[in-house]
Symmetry: C2
Subunit: 355 residues, 2 copies
């Protein structure tokens, strides 16, 4: 049987659940590799993916007999069949952080079981990646490094942020990525001071700072990287902030290894930024996988231990409000004794010469 | 005061609600024109948009005093202030079709009021568009027509579906659209039999069928259109199915006018497909506005009357499983006596000559 479903069934048993309704499409993709609208019903005996006629053909080409997953068109399932599926179940898990209140009520009516919260059980399993998942993320990171190399030659004075953002999308889509993993951020000059700046019509100038935050998806798995480029030369003011941010990034990297507390590392990073006169505007990083932002959240709020084969970003940022900002971000893999960087582009500072 | 908020307050009064929590960002955009993470709290006396530090600056540049909306950073609001906001309210509406079960529980704890379901009150208001909304949708449709004209010259034998899909995105982004309204579908040959095919690496061949389903956003408002192109010539088999689909589409168009029942029109379309030997795989259409799929759903399930200034798609599809499919779709505006097509590209059949 599908190994992930087997794991999930074992988990359900330990929590006194006899079944689960999986509604989050990212979790369905994780468990059975399918991207289609529908819900996955798991019991300790059988599994049923309920979808609609638009997807049946596609789904049947992906699933194999070994998956042991029945596929049904929701139009062909009677009320009685819905109610019968969990007949031998007393408690059935659902995804309280994904399912709407209205769907919750409908599930109650349809399945007539006790619906139990599952506290992101699948999301928590997703934090530690297997070999294949790591390979896909590595590939997404490699494409991101290549895109950055390409941009260093592509960017010219007078181009708008939007044009550069568009070129990033084009590079990914024509070089083997499924898609971007999020809309690229290209923030130049004073725009770089806003962590969530949208690319606009500001044109690149001589002496500019250009912050680029980008990533792509490969077979559904994401990469995420931020680099800052300087156009023709680098102001001393920029250099000072850059070095503070870079040292902070490297400090965090050195603390990463299996067994370390995420919260401690994030606190150390924030303290270091504050000591240097910067207010931390966002968390140090986040998990990366099928979602661009997923567990674990690399912040100062929760105690959580790093584990081998977690994939996260490290992305400290030093911002001067209304002036400029520096953020240096990599996607990294946690190892037994440390970490390895999956995005490998040089961390600069990088000055590019352009006309 | 903001006219849409005024309308909403009047609605709340008639339903014995003294306030509402608006969480769906599309509804927030509709009501107050803001795109930022946050929630909008409405009472009969005041309105509060709670967001975070990343958006405060942006939000304050958009709202005016006439909007009568207070803006607050969630970090600066105490538990007591949250609880006090609905102090004089007994029943407060929430969006049960958007809010997760976990958020519902949190709202209960935070606001300490009776939370009442609002049955898509705002979505239902959004179905009838005002003059400005129609202008924006018209512009999005115009860009889609232009994109289709462009594609007729762009497509060449040997190109992959992905390359064409990418060109669609590029066209939109460099010709004034905000973005695509959904990932374009380019399905060639047998892939066209799957209504939700993802563009892949299949290459366009002589004699191929190429189904293109695409749309863009202009100032947040969507367009949606499907056309099928034939490469160099058109097989008789394709022609027969094409004509059945086209007649079905035109039949539905003729039935549209203010006051007609959506369900009847959808049933007639389905019956016509069945009489011709095709199984309807999806509904006849859907509302289009700030969301690409919104109310009303143009299907056989619910009775609903068409109203002047609703915007919908008409998109019958005739599919031969595993072989090919034809879908012809327009975005249309319901008028007093009929309808007007907002996407105006010729409905063919269109054979393009390419090398």
């Amino acid at each position: 049987m599908n190994i992930k479903i087997k794991w999930l069934r074992d988990q359900l048993k330990t929590q006194n659940l006899q079944g689960m309704i999986v509604s989050n499409p990212v979790n369905i993709k994780y468990l059975i590799g399918i991207e289609a609208e529908g819900i996955l019903l798991i019991t300790l005996r059988e599994n049923l993916f309920i979808t609609d006629s638009r997807y049946i053909e596609e789904v049947n080409t992906i699933l194999t007999i070994e998956d042991e997953i029945l596929v049904a068109d929701k139009k062909n399932i009677s009320k009685e069949e819905y109610a019968a599926f969990f007949m031998y179940c007393e408690n059935v898990g659902f995804e309280e952080n994904f399912v709407t209140y209205a769907d919750y009520k409908e599930y109650l009516q349809t399945f007539r079981v006790n619906l139990m919260e599952t506290e992101n059980i699948i999301e928590k399993q997703r934090v530690v990646k297997d070999e294949k998942e790591i390979q896909y993320i590595e590939k997404a990171c490699e494409l991101t490094d290549q895109c950055f190399e390409y941009l260093k030659k592509f960017i010219k004075i007078g181009m708008t942020e939007k044009e550069i953002a568009f070129e990033i999308e084009k590079f990914y889509k024509t070089n083997g990525a499924d898609d971007v993993s999020f809309a690229p951020i290209v923030a130049s000059g004073h725009n770089s001071s806003m962590p969530h700046a949208m690319p606009g019509t500001r044109k690149i100038k001589d002496g500019d700072i250009v912050l680029i935050d980008m990533g792509c998806k490969y077979k559904g798995y994401c990469s995420d990287m931020t680099r800052v480029l300087f156009i023709n030369y680098m102001d001393d003011e920029y250099r000072e902030t850059y070095n503070i941010c870079l040292r902070n990034n490297e400090m965090a990297e050195k603390e990463i290894r299996d067994g370390k507390n995420i919260k401690t590392i994030a606190q150390n990073s924030n303290n270091n930024l504050r000591e240097n006169g910067y207010i931390p505007l966002h968390s140090l990083g986040h998990g990366v996988g099928l979602d661009i932002h997923e567990e674990p959240f690399f912040g100062i709020v929760y105690d959580q231990m790093l584990k081998e084969n977690m994939v996260l970003t490290i992305e400290p940022g030093a911002y001067k409000v209304g002036q400029f900002g520096i953020r240096i971000e990599d996607t990294i893999l946690v190892t037994k004794m440390g970490m390895s960087r999956l995005t490998k582009a040089d961390k600069g500072p990088t000055v590019i010469i352009c006309d």
